[in-house]
């Protein structure tokens, strides 16, 4: 047993109607991941299927449990678009899918030495360049405070690649912007509520030395905004974040936030399934996928007041999910 009895995928093409689409994210209770699942649904509908939605509450073990269970079912024409909870969760998912011959696209988290190109049905790994986005918003923050002054940083969940890369990006930015001083850094675990309390405390600790707040995601940036408002500092301290969740884009648009970076949840949710669907139905040959597309950074944009309008209403473009276009947003290979 253990699952090797299914023929490795890719041999006989599946009927489009026989394809089983699974999208798995942490939960449905945050806007980013909700939009991911919505994107997946939209794609599935466009090919006349439905997406099986799985959520695992940010619980690594639960994610693995669900994956094993899915893989214990019929895997012949299975397509999975998965957000691994952390780097450590990717390997077992990949090995399981590989054994079962299920088509797999992973996003965000993956250890550097684990490569899709080494596997047959792990089609692609998609992520955003966290170092770059951390640096971009760092630079934007530096500009906003006029190139000099103190800032504080709110880190994400410490043991995630996203948190670490983004903070590394901030440090790069600080090297360039020598006038900017990092007064303090605290972990607020990507959470709006934690960011609120931590920011309040840091504001009393550093007082009016704080000119800007760098947050590793928008949720924390929004929490920081509330803290500023409660401290009567709304508008006096610049705030940046990452993710381009609708509320953050609105805040950027009306000037309460300085910048954010687009991570396009609904595109991620759709394109992962699309890649798998194209491969399963034989429209995309695994061997023919360019090496650089097997693990890539997706395009991302710095969103500031100038271009916020364009991102205000996120919508999926069905054209993005056509088999010829699924790699249109590749910004470069994973480094």
């Amino acid at each position: 047993a253990g699952g090797n009895d299914t023929a490795a995928g890719g041999e006989a093409a599946c009927e489009p109607s026989a394809v089983r689409l699974v999208g798995q994210v942490r939960n449905e209770s945050n806007p980013y991941e909700a939009s991911w699942l919505a994107g997946g649904d939209a794609f599935a509908k466009s090919v006349g299927l439905t997406q099986e939605r799985l959520t695992y509450d940010g619980d690594s073990t639960k994610q693995q449990e669900q994956i094993s269970q899915i893989l214990a079912g019929d895997t012949k024409c299975l397509v999975m678009n998965v957000l691994p909870n952390g780097d450590s969760d990717t390997a077992p998912i990949v090995k399981g899918a590989d054994q079962a011959g299920a088509y797999l696209v992973t996003q965000w988290n993956k250890p550097a030495d684990l490569k899709p190109a080494d596997y047959k049905t792990w089609l692609s790994h998609i992520t955003y360049n966290g170092v770059e986005s951390g640096q971009q918003i760092g630079d934007a923050l530096a500009t906003a405070i006029g190139g000099s002054g103190g800032i504080i940083a709110l880190q994400g969940v410490l043991d995630t690649a996203a948190a670490k890369d983004r903070f590394a990006g901030l440090q790069k930015s600080l090297e360039k912007n020598t006038g900017v001083k990092l007064l303090d850094q605290q972990a607020a675990n990507f959470s709006r509520a934690e960011a609120l309390t931590v920011t309040k405390t840091l504001l009393t600790k550093h007082g009016d030395k704080v000119k800007g707040i760098w947050a590793a995601n928008d949720d924390m940036a929004l929490g920081a905004l509330e803290a500023l408002q409660q401290a009567g500092l709304a508008g006096k301290v610049a705030v940046v974040g990452i993710d381009a969740v609708p509320d953050a884009v609105t805040a950027v648009k009306n000037g309460t936030m300085t910048a954010t970076v687009s991570s396009d949840g609904s595109w991620q949710g759709g394109v992962g399934l699309a890649i798998g669907f194209c491969a399963a139905t034989g429209k995309l040959k695994v061997e023919e996928i360019a090496k650089d597309n097997r693990a890539f950074f997706a395009e991302q944009f710095l969103i500031t007041k100038d271009n916020a309008g364009e991102f205000a209403a996120p919508k999926t473009n069905p054209a993005d999910f056509e088999c010829g276009n699924v790699f249109n947003r590749v910004a470069g290979p994973l480094t």
Partner: protein
């Protein structure tokens, strides 16, 4: 009286069967051999974790640190495997058992409720795990010495599940054939009476925490063999499922009454709920609602009211 009594002992099993039946009705594809094997394999770490912590609960305490300790142990194992090889596994289990015992000793000697000691322990162990792992995943490149746990016995039985059964059986047998069961039950039902009957209450408690810690270590080995890596928060989310497994099994949270076999069945019930509901297509929000409701009903079924007079 007698047959009724017998029946209550089987309640956890009955709940388990009922749940499998319900899931099968919801999705006939669920009841396949592969699917059940996957459940067994998946449940193994939870079974081991819950079995160990059951001893603490039987003594009337609670161990909230098991999950954090398991996470820390995955980091230890991943860090030590390159150097220690095959010895890494026993080393991790021993260290985890020692950490468990240390918490037990703090509870007993400082007279602090186990809830608080292990809540503090949970925070401290998490911090240590974060620091020594550099706040990241520690990859295991050569997993040859723990790979066996990820294999299948006779091609069908997941080795980790067999191991879990073995651990549960071992604990159960040791308890029944030695005075330990009496000591633990007496401690859990009435600590002062136990002590005044010369029961080594403090040692029994420290021992229970020690076994609980060791089991957390073993669960960590299973997780690493499955994940090919260790991580500082890898097992953190197993705490509440483990406690739920114990209670769903019908072990009294107030101590004294219960068994590791009950927790075994409880862990399977909890695992089925965790994986079964989403797999048969229950949407996320309803899944949580159903999980909450079913678990309450399951406990209502499994608790042996003849043995547990006041329910708090």
């Amino acid at each position: 009286m007698k047959p009724v009594h017998r029946l209550t002992g089987f309640m956890p099993l009955i709940a388990l069967v009922a749940l499998v039946a319900a899931l099968t009705v919801a999705d006939p594809d669920f009841l396949t051999q592969r699917s059940l094997i996957a459940v067994a394999r998946t449940a193994a770490p939870l079974i081991v974790l819950a079995a160990g912590a059951t001893l603490v609960v039987l003594c009337g305490g609670i161990d909230l640190s098991i999950a954090a300790l398991a996470s820390l142990s995955t980091v230890f194992l991943a860090l030590w495997l390159p150097e220690l090889g095959g010895l890494a596994t026993p080393a991790v289990i021993l260290v985890a058992a020692a950490i468990g015992a240390a918490q037990g000793a703090a509870h007993v000697l400082l007279r602090i409720p186990s809830f608080i000691v292990t809540l503090g322990g949970m925070a401290i162990l998490s911090a240590v795990a974060l620091v020594i792992s550099g706040a990241g995943t520690v990859r295991v490149v050569d997993d040859s010495t723990i790979h066996w746990l990820d294999l299948y016995l006779a091609g069908y039985v997941p080795m980790s599940a067999a191991m879990a059964v073995l651990v549960v059986a071992l604990i159960a047998v040791v308890l029944t054939v030695t005075p330990l069961r009496s000591w633990i039950a007496a401690t859990g039902y009435s600590e002062s009476a136990a002590r005044l009957a010369g029961t080594p209450v403090d040692l029994v408690k420290i021992g229970a925490f020690c076994v609980s810690g060791g089991c957390a270590g073993l669960a960590a080995v299973m997780l690493v063999s499955r994940q090919f890596s260790g991580g500082p928060t890898m097992a953190d989310n197993l705490l509440l499922p483990a406690v739920a497994a114990i209670v769903v099994g019908g072990t009294a949270i107030t101590g004294g009454h219960g068994s590791v076999w009950r927790s075994f069945a409880g862990a399977l019930v909890v695992t089925l709920l965790r994986v079964g509901l989403p797999i048969v297509g229950v949407p996320s929000a309803y899944e949580q609602i159903l999980y909450g409701a079913i678990i309450v009903v399951a406990v209502a079924l499994t608790l042996d009211r003849a043995k547990v007079s006041t329910v708090k």
